[in-house]
């Protein structure tokens, strides 16, 4: 038996960040990861967006807090360059319908206090001259940006490890066990781990684990795909998205473009047990990109990848202390937009575990919010 103050299940960026902030406050933490690699799930398979615009109001406080207080100092705090760019987010539109969608999103964000506004075609091209003539409007949030998810995930790992967090990879959690009415044990193929607090930050797999203590998290998975180009000369620094969310991406510090998109078949994409790309999505994303950024048509694609997202039924995660099961904490179901809020989630989850005040209102992300329609 191995004991700790807190056990975090899942060494993605969420789990790593939680472990880091807990260890920083002096806790003894163990992180258990089923995969051989740190950050094998969505943490290494996302577009790197660090944005507030376009977010559900329930998770917006986390996004805003992180961008104001955590992301700008993260490289320094963690001792690893995470390639954070706070150069704005353009959400592009081509049609009247797009404009309507974008205006709606913008109005809701403004109501939450976010500095975002609609801009016209002229201003769009002032900000990004590489965009095609087809782009007729955009929502523009100057304080949004992007970072390198691979590095940010490993930076939290590295820093947490330095603080004494014990990461164990290749250790799949098989079940959870309560002792005398309180969740205390995590059972793996190799060992039994025991702690006062158990945080499930393992994406879609959290659903099966939580079931051992009678909690259901209504999420499913979808296989999303991205492509990466060779390094290109520096073109622009904003994060890009579209009204229809059919493509999103940015140019990394290294020069490569990391761009995600959809074929429309994500929810039913078949896999072979690993997150394998479909044969049709890369072509579809490439067509989308060329329409928005014609100059990239000769950029070489060096890699495509796919990753499962843990898609919550209402599109935002559960970040909560489970009152019904003492000792259980949940941080899962990020629905494809967890990266940007990961630092704030890590900090607040640590505070939640420690019983300290939260920096953000996350009451909209409670585990018990799900109900049948009225």
């Amino acid at each position: 038996m191995i004991t700790a103050d807190t056990i975090v299940v899942g060494a993605g960026i969420i789990g790593n960040a939680i472990a880091y902030y807990l260890a920083k406050k002096g806790q003894k933490v163990i992180v258990l990861e089923k995969s051989d690699n740190i950050g094998d799930g969505g943490s290494s398979r996302n577009g790197g967006g660090v944005r507030q615009s376009g977010r559900d109001p329930r998770e917006l406080p986390l996004a805003m807090y992180g961008i104001k207080n955590l992301w700008p100092y993260l490289s320094e705090e963690l001792g690893t360059e995470v390639e954070y760019y706070k150069k704005g987010n353009l959400r592009l539109g081509k049609t009247e319908k797009h404009k309507e969608i974008l205006t709606g999103l913008t109005n809701r964000a403004v109501a939450c206090g976010l500095d975002v506004r609609m801009i016209d075609a002229y201003e769009v091209r002032q900000i990004n001259p590489f965009l095609s003539e087809e782009v007729s409007c955009a929502s523009w949030c100057e304080t949004d940006g992007h970072a390198n998810p691979l590095l940010a995930t490993l930076a939290y790992y590295k820093a947490a490890r330095r603080l004494g967090v014990r990461f164990i990879t290749g250790e799949e959690v098989l079940s959870l066990k309560k002792l005398r009415g309180r969740l205390r044990q995590v059972i793996t193929a190799h060992d039994i781990y025991e702690a006062d607090n158990i945080v499930l930050a393992n994406g879609i797999a959290a659903r099966d684990l939580a079931a051992y203590v009678g909690i259901d998290i209504p999420m499913s998975s979808a296989l999303l795909e991205c492509l990466v180009t060779e390094a290109e000369p520096r073109m622009f620094e904003q994060m890009l998205g579209t009204a229809e969310a059919d493509f999103y991406g940015h140019q990394s510090k290294h020069g490569s473009f990391v761009i995600g998109g959809s074929s429309g078949l994500e929810a039913v994409n078949k896999d072979n047990g690993t997150p394998i790309n479909s044969s049709i999505t890369a072509a579809c994303i490439a067509r989308g990109i060329i329409k928005y950024i014609p100059k990239l048509s000769h950029a070489k694609i060096v890699r495509t990848w796919a990753g499962w997202m843990d898609r919550m039924v209402d599109g935002v995660p559960v970040i909560d202390k489970v009152d019904e099961v003492e000792g259980l904490y949940l941080a899962c179901g990020f629905s494809g937009h967890g990266f940007g809020i990961a630092p704030a989630v890590g900090l607040n989850m640590a505070n939640l575990v420690l019983g300290e005040n939260l920096t953000c209102d996350i009451s909209g992300l409670a585990y018990n919010r799900f109900a049948a329609k009225a």
Partner: protein
């Protein structure tokens, strides 16, 4: 090789070597010293090394350096190179222009 690995911090200083400045991954210009230091920093697998340093992810897709990187990582970890799982292979097998991928015939 799927196995349990405890990543706890090892109580040893990073030791610089004379040939640390030797380039290993030519596409991404990563040196032997950077790879060694990454292992020291806890990057124990080929997947982590490449996510951390980008080596083996350039235009040659690791054709030239993947074996070399693996050798260095294995040596740092004190294991045989064949115990390290190679990183995933991803389409396209050859870097391909976006307009070509976009031009699809079913």
């Amino acid at each position: 090789m799927h196995e349990l690995v405890d990543r706890s911090l090892k109580d040893e200083e990073f030791e610089e070597r004379e040939d640390d400045d030797m380039l290993i991954c030519r596409c991404e210009e990563i040196t032997k010293g950077e790879i060694r230091r990454a292992v020291h920093d806890g990057m124990y697998t080929m997947a982590e090394i490449r996510r951390y340093l980008r080596c083996t992810m350039g235009l040659c897709q690791g054709q030239t350096c993947a074996k070399l990187v693996k050798g260095i990582v294995a040596k740092e970890l004190g294991v045989s190179p064949d115990k390290l799982e190679p990183a995933t292979s991803r389409s396209p097998m050859r870097p391909t222009e976006m307009y070509i991928i976009a031009n699809e015939e079913k």
